[in-house]
Subunit: 108 residues, 2 copies
Amino acid sequence: MTSETHVLSGDDLLAQLAALDNPHRLRIVAALASGGRNYVSQLARDLGISRPLLHLHLQKLEAAGLVSSQLELSQDGKALNYFAVTDFKLELSPALIATAAQTLSTPE
Amino acid sequence: MTSETHVLSGDDLLAQLAALDNPHRLRIVAALASGGRNYVSQLARDLGISRPLLHLHLQKLEAAGLVSSQLELSQDGKALNYFAVTDFKLELSPALIATAAQTLSTPE
DNA sequence: GTCACATGTCAACTAATGTTGACACATGAC
DNA sequence: GTCATGTGTCAACATTAGTTGACATGTGAC
């Protein structure tokens, strides 16, 4: 195995920040962290938001690697898409940002 | 002295995330972290963005407590507004978010 | 006075994001 | 078959954020 620490690119950092910069998405992460894994419709009911909206937010969180999904079949045959939070750990400091900003791909 | 650690509110966390969720603002923090304090017009030239735009971004960063400003007079009498980065340190994890999300003030 | 530099602010436009409601599809229970 | 549950997607609208250019202010040097 490699002992190499994954170096966060500026774009990845930005994607993670963008994913967390939203009260709904903070609550989604919080709900999954506290209550454990859950499937979309149930989570929408728990949080009191519409399913399409939750779906889009989960999509953004998953694209940033902060949550993961797994499609399963319930005993009565329904397809349930379970989401769980990744145990990410992001150390945000001026030094880290200075490093990550060097690999930002924003032309102008 | 108190050994109390400052507890981050959900709204403060969200403000800091919102402040960093932008390529320009990441570059601003990076420039101040690497090159030290700087005043608005010079920083705008260094980064290649317009001064009004930089002003708005600095405003948002300062509101989140990530940078601080200090108005000074140059030797030839010009008023220079110097900005410096705060040495913030934000440990972003599911557990922290679960805690902070409890104090989010977003009604609906 | 004019010029060059610094500061900030404002309205107006563009671009990105969030949100909703309706749609289509599949399954088991009745 | 119908109903209730689950899945996803899409166009359309509402809201927010980003960006620009012009404006007003101040100073010292010439």
